[in-house]
């Protein structure tokens, strides 16, 4: 059997039925195998970065391993951002890259890059296959490593000559042998007992949950724990959807753009129970000020996360689902008390807000809030990165896990469109909506053609404020309104320095690009409005249309995201805006 056939068979044995990718000289034999099989659905993206993000989006919604195949050299390096993105958000993907022929390795051959070297620090693990006989074993290991323990990206680099080599007796392993990789699933019972005691002694307990809850499918156990103990709960952006947004005892997202109640609760709690989180700096602010009145319990499957950013008084290494299950069996019921009342008061007194009534221009928050009227519990939301991402985290009504695809750790502009595409390719019947900005969408806008040609039903909502809004917001608040390099309409007619288009009659304000024309040129339906009263109509028309649509809303240019905890400030030093 040929190496390429062995690779295909190995992938089929891992139940792979969907692959994203882009061909090239070093992977022609692999694509030739695809030509002769109907067992794999293949999506040709328009850029390898798109393929990597699509595999990531696919993995997030289907909870399977996302797979992408690219060629050597530039094909491989174009996936780098996608791999780093999957690493920071713990998403299981396997990236298979072609490589120059074995004999040319290390000679700076045409389209040769050291993929193993390049991905060493951004992948969970990586391989260069040197013998064709090893393909089944390494593919098996790659999938096993990607999805077990704390998930992450694994890359496999395969010299093209291996694909053409013949092997007589191919052996497919049935299990993996990795003496160095044995994730600890069950938490130490003694540590769980300690946590049980801490909960019964705590006056102000707080649950702080994150992506680990979603990855381990622990949402039922979480709901049960909250029901039993009435512990107020906050969720990271990666954890959104593990609890319905309107759940009892749920406060919302803490951190830089988190809600006031969640941040106050962290500042004041005396027991912080962290589940599947990594104390990211966008949550903690200065680490020595974070939850400083609190005993910290940290449940995570990755021992290296425990104590990395915040010291854990009660460390529990284990899978969130398994540990929460055990905790539920042992923990005593807890009634609501003054602490609950206090957190609810914070919540009621500090709702998220925007003032569309007093604005003639469309406010981005208003559009997101309106979308809530057109969705079901099962709708999949993808986002790009920036202000719209924060607003969609805040204002979208998250209902279910694995339904909010966002680049949390790496903050990758350009993630949204290919991720939404991968999700929709995995679940063609589900409604998939992308929130993006005029900056982010242009970073992978080439995938519009992929949507149209394959009739991938993604509804794109661009909140166009003509700025790289999040950076402009920092310039507005902390850099004396020096809008340096953040206006996407800046052109040769502009003054050297600019404090923004408001009150500037000379602002050339060129509308480029015309997103509706871009959409239509790519075979995607395009809609646009700048009128508040048309928002609902456009959403209805766009979301009910059968096929991919791009809806552009020209929104208030200098709207800021609030609340905001400025970088370097404590969690209770919050800017609330007007």
């Amino acid at each position: 059997m040929k190496g390429s056939k062995i690779l295909l068979e190995s992938l089929l044995k891992e139940n792979v039925d969907t692959i994203f990718g882009y061909p090239g000289g070093s992977v022609i034999p692999i694509f030739d195998e695809f030509y002769n099989t109907n067992k794999i659905k293949f999506l040709l993206t328009r850029h390898e970065q798109g393929a990597a993000h699509a595999a990531d989006g696919y993995a997030r919604v289907t909870q399977k391993v996302g797979v992408c195949i690219v060629t050597s050299g530039p094909g491989a390096t174009n996936t780098i951002t996608g791999i780093a993105n999957a690493k920071l958000d713990s998403i299981p993907i396997v990236v298979i890259s072609g490589q120059v022929p074995s004999g040319n390795l290390g000679t700076d051959a045409f389209q040769e890059t050291d993929m193993v070297g390049l991905t060493r620090s951004i992948s969970k693990h990586n391989y260069l296959i040197k013998e064709v006989e090893n393909i089944p074993k390494i593919i098996k290991e790659a999938f096993y490593i990607a999805k077990n323990g704390r998930p992450g990206p694994v890359t496999v680099d395969i010299p093209v000559d291996l694909m053409m080599q013949e092997v007589k007796n191919v052996k497919y392993p049935t299990k993996v042998e990795l003496p160095g990789f044995k994730p600890n699933i069950k938490g130490n019972p003694k540590q769980v007992d300690k946590l049980v005691n801490a909960i019964s002694e705590a006056k102000k307990p707080l649950l702080y949950i994150g992506g680990g809850v979603i990855i381990s499918k622990a949402e039922k156990e979480l709901v049960e724990l909250i029901k039993k103990t009435n512990i107020p709960t906050v969720s990271t952006m990666m954890g959104l959807g593990s609890l319905p947004y309107d759940s009892e005892n749920y406060l919302g997202m803490p951190g830089m753009h988190g809600v006031v109640s969640a941040n106050y609760a962290i500042a004041e709690c005396d027991l912080l129970i962290a589940v599947g989180v990594r104390f990211d700096d966008r949550i903690t602010g200065p680490r020595d000020t974070f939850a400083k009145n609190s005993v910290v319990a940290h449940i995570d499957i990755d021992p290296a996360e425990i104590g990395k950013n915040i010291f854990a008084d009660i460390p529990i290494v284990g899978d969130a689902k398994s540990v929460l299950k055990e905790l539920n069996e042992k923990v005593k019921n807890r009634k609501k008390d003054d602490w609950n009342k206090k957190t609810e008061k914070w919540k009621n007194e500090n709702p998220l807000k925007y003032d569309q009534k007093n604005s003639k221009k469309i406010l981005p928050q208003f559009v997101i809030n309106k979308v809530n009227e057109f969705v079901t519990d099962d709708t999949i939301i993808a986002t790009d990165v920036g202000q719209h991402q924060m607003w969609s985290a805040q204002f979208y009504h998250h209902q279910k896990p694995n339904r909010y695809l966002t680049s949390g750790g790496l903050g990758t502009m350009g993630y949204g469109l290919p991720a939404a595409m991968g999700a929709s390719f995995g679940f063609p019947k589900k409604q998939v909506i992308l929130f993006s900005g005029d900056g982010s969408i242009q970073m992978n806008i080439q995938e519009l053609a992929t949507l149209a040609l394959n009739n991938i039903n993604v509804k794109i909502i661009i909140l166009n404020n003509s700025f790289l809004g999040m950076v402009r917001q920092w310039q507005d608040l902390f850099w004396n309104k020096n809008y340096s390099a953040t206006c996407l309409r800046r052109n040769s007619e502009c003054k050297a320095q600019c404090k923004g288009p408001e009150n500037d009659d000379d602002c050339p304000n060129l509308y480029i690009p015309d997103f509706v024309k871009v959409a239509e040129a790519n075979g995607v339906k395009g809609l646009r409005t700048d009128k508040v009263e048309e928002v609902e109509k456009i959403l209805k028309e766009g979301l009910e249309y059968d096929g991919p649509v791009l809806m552009e809303f020209l929104v208030e240019k200098e709207e800021n995201v609030y609340p905001m905890v400025p970088a370097g400030k404590m969690n209770n030093q919050i800017l609330l805006g007007d």
Binding site: V116, G117, R120, S121, L128, P179, G180, A304, K308
Partner: protein, 165 residues
């Protein structure tokens, strides 16, 4: 407070394992004081002894990160354990003349070091022992003029009756 930590890594004998380890340390801002590695009695297993000067907290982090590498089987920080035999090996080239040669040879004798090559102007000698012994030997050779030396870095093994192989 930064202090010396000797870490024994048991890893799978895989291509690029040293690059993974040194890359990880560099990525997280650690300087390697010394590193030595070779195959063990099991050809699939490679053993590395690593010396780092870092704080207790940093070492805890780095051992966790090293453990996280898929090819890592075991990581032990032996700094506060006394049931290890730790050795280092050195080859050193010392300047001599007619007046000093016998003094140097006497010291070599006392230290149970072994001369490897003797010329009119130099003596090359090898020595193994614990780190303090090696340091002291270098110190004593300095007044005569040390041309250069190579040290192996530390390597270690558990004593008998210990659960850690």
């Amino acid at each position: 407070m930064k202090e010396k930590h000797t870490i024994i890594l048991t890893v799978m004998n895989r291509v690029g394992i040293l690059a993974r380890i040194s890359g990880l340390l560099a990525q997280r801002g650690f300087n390697i004081e010394s590193v030595i590695g070779a195959l063990t009695e099991d050809p699939d297993v490679y053993k590395i002894t690593l010396v780092l000067y870092e704080s207790e907290r940093a070492i805890e982090q780095v051992t966790k990160q090293l453990n996280k590498l898929i090819d890592t089987i075991k990581v032990i920080d032996i700094s506060h354990k006394n049931n290890y035999i730790i050795r280092e090996y050195i080859i050193i080239k010392v300047k001599v003349n007619q007046n000093t040669r016998s003094d140097v040879i006497e010291l070599i004798d006392v230290f149970k070091a072994k001369p490897l090559d003797i010329s009119q102007t130099h003596i090359i000698t090898e020595l193994s022992g614990n780190v303090r012994k090696v340091d002291r030997f270098i110190d004593l050779m300095k007044p005569y003029g040390v041309s250069n030396y190579v040290r192996s870095g530390e390597f270690a093994m558990t004593e008998f009756n210990n659960e850690n192989k």
